[in-house]
């Protein structure tokens, strides 16, 4: 009996630590690093605090404010580290800030949320853009390097080294922990949104995997966007990004048949789409558009919103989608956008028009881009150009990573 209750306490503590770690990780790391600029030390201090919590909480009972408890413990270990480094003179102001005497030490009243600064630091122009998303996933959400490495198709050791290098640059490179000035804000915000969307994109592409890592990453990206929206409630593009991701997430259950077969959007059963997620997405998009500042993510969300209307109308308004894509290509002419535009034009104005839009894309740009070849193959097939179509299908199949997507294309090739 005694053992049982001991186990109960253990697992209750474990669950609490897990929850606090998830909800507070970014807040604690941001707060602990905002003055030192030292993300690695802040993370180390926090993980030490989590280890102490695992020992102390089952023994002493759960603290009233677990987050404050963790912050105090992390702060103590951070002070020890800084003292150890014997750079006392330089770190004197830091010690003062971290010390018990600072006014912020009264934690029961809460402590400032510095996550916004942290998000902007992760997507700072001085940091390699390829590292923006991994840095966010690690410092704001506490994902470990190995998990990030899998998602980014990089050996875990390499990802670990890249993260260390990026953090060293943040610490030593004079990168300021601040909200960007008004004139830099649009560009800096775009970089932060890009990084969040990249995490979602990886989760989206990876949903085919047997493990859950892809799905988790998409959820983490939505979480990040929610945090950002909470911190910047007035930004239309933040809300646009959240609407876009919620729209895509709503369709997740419909993307696979029961036998694991890939189901393209046009063949999905709208009854399988998640209504609550669609409604939430629509609400965010409507609020964003009221602010009268359009942008890339709102346009992408609008395209998804037109697709979602099929749940009510039973048809897809391709002319509207093509129009949104046209605006999107003008402000963000990425390869994926141009291929999406061509596919929409093909539906709205016929396969020849779609093919012409594809032809307008530069020749070398598309050689590795799987969706380009999939759209091209489909249009050639519709036009009865069998040989060219099967060549294009081959290219699309050869560039496919996900086995179900590959199987889908091989079936269509016949």
């Amino acid at each position: 009996m005694k053992n049982d209750s001991q186990e109960d306490i253990q697992s209750a503590v474990g669950r609490t630590i897990e929850r606090v770690a998830r909800e507070s990780y970014g807040r604690l790391v941001a707060y602990l690093s905002v003055h030192t600029h030292d993300l690695a030390s802040a993370e180390d201090a926090l993980s030490e605090a989590l280890v102490s919590a695992l020992k102390a909480w089952p023994r002493d009972g759960l603290p009233q404010n677990p987050e404050a408890w963790l912050l105090t413990a992390a702060r103590h270990s951070l002070i020890d580290v800084i003292r150890h480094q014997r750079v006392v003179v330089a770190s004197e102001p830091t010690l003062a800030l971290l010390g018990e005497n600072s006014p912020e030490a009264n934690l029961s009243a809460g402590f400032p949320d510095e996550r916004l600064k942290l998000l902007f630091v992760c997507a700072h122009p001085a940091i390699d853009p390829a590292m923006h998303t991994p840095l966010m996933l690690q410092t704001v959400l506490g994902l470990d390097a190995a998990r990030i490495a899998h998602a980014f198709l990089v050996p875990p050791k390499t990802m670990g080294q890249r993260l260390v290098r990026a953090k060293t640059k943040i610490r030593d490179g004079g990168i300021r922990f601040e909200i960007p000035q008004e004139r830099d804000l649009p560009e800096r915000l775009e970089a932060a949104l890009e990084a969040i969307y990249a995490a979602f994109g990886i989760g989206w592409d990876d949903m085919f995997g047997i493990d859950q890592r892809g799905r988790d990453l998409a959820e983490e990206a939505i979480w990040l966007a929610r945090v950002l929206l909470q911190l910047m409630p007035g930004e239309a593009e933040v809300q646009g990004l959240l609407a876009l991701m919620l729209h895509c997430e709503a369709r997740r259950p419909a993307r696979r048949a029961l036998d694991g077969r890939y189901v393209p959007l046009s063949e999905q059963d709208p009854k399988q789409w998640s209504l609550p997620l669609l409604e939430e997405a629509e609400r965010h998009l409507a609020e964003a558009s009221k602010r009268g500042r359009s942008g890339r993510f709102q346009l992408e969300a609008a395209i998804q919103s037109v697709h979602a209307e099929r749940a009510h109308t039973g048809r897809t308004d391709w002319a509207a989608i093509a129009l949104f894509y046209e605006q999107l290509v003008r402000i963000s002419p990425a390869l994926g956008t141009r291929v999406g535009y061509a596919a929409a034009v093909a539906e709205a104005a016929g396969p020849e028009a779609g093919l012409a839009a594809l032809e307008a894309i530069a020749r070398d740009a598309e050689s590795h881009y799987q969706p380009y070849w999939a759209v091209r193959a489909h249009l050639l097939q519709v036009l009865g150009k069998t040989q060219e179509a099967s060549d294009a299908y081959d290219r699309a199949v050869g560039l496919a990573e996900d086995p179900a997507g590959r199987e889908f294309l091989l079936q269509k090739r016949r």
Binding site: S367, D394, R395, A400, E401, P403, R406, L410
Partner: protein, 123 residues
């Protein structure tokens, strides 16, 4: 920089290969090969027969030792290899992920030895 993509199969995966060359994965492999060639990264490579057809030879104290079967007695055996010319290991990993072998068995990516060393033994 050149990389070897080494494709490993378990006995079950080898057994899935059909002897009449109607391998269900053949279409995917052909398409993958085509994509590599069109991207200008393909150097060479091929599929190997099943491991049981291998014979291993070594000289021990001047005496020949011939052994039936593959060199290493592991569950997963080399099933084929591809040599690619690519700028970085990141690019090599990307192509490895697209390889049909990655969703059937496993693909090891390893750089070839440095050019200077290779020239050393090819003369």
């Amino acid at each position: 920089m050149q990389f070897a993509l080494m494709i490993y199969h378990t006995p079950e995966e080898f057994a899935m290969r059909a002897n009449d060359y109607n391998d269900p994965h053949l279409g995917a492999w052909r398409a993958y090969h085509k994509a590599l060639v069109e991207a200008g990264v393909y150097v060479g490579g091929n599929a190997l027969e099943v491991p049981e057809t291998g014979t291993t030879v070594r000289l021990k104290e001047g005496k020949r030792r011939v052994q039936d079967g593959p060199y290493a007695e592991t569950k997963e055996q080399l099933a084929g290899f591809i040599i690619l010319e690519l700028p970085s290991v990141d690019a090599a990993l990307e192509w490895a992920a697209r390889c049909p072998g990655a969703s059937i068995g496993a693909v090891e990516v390893r750089p070839l030895a440095p050019e200077a060393m290779r020239r050393g033994f090819t003369g």
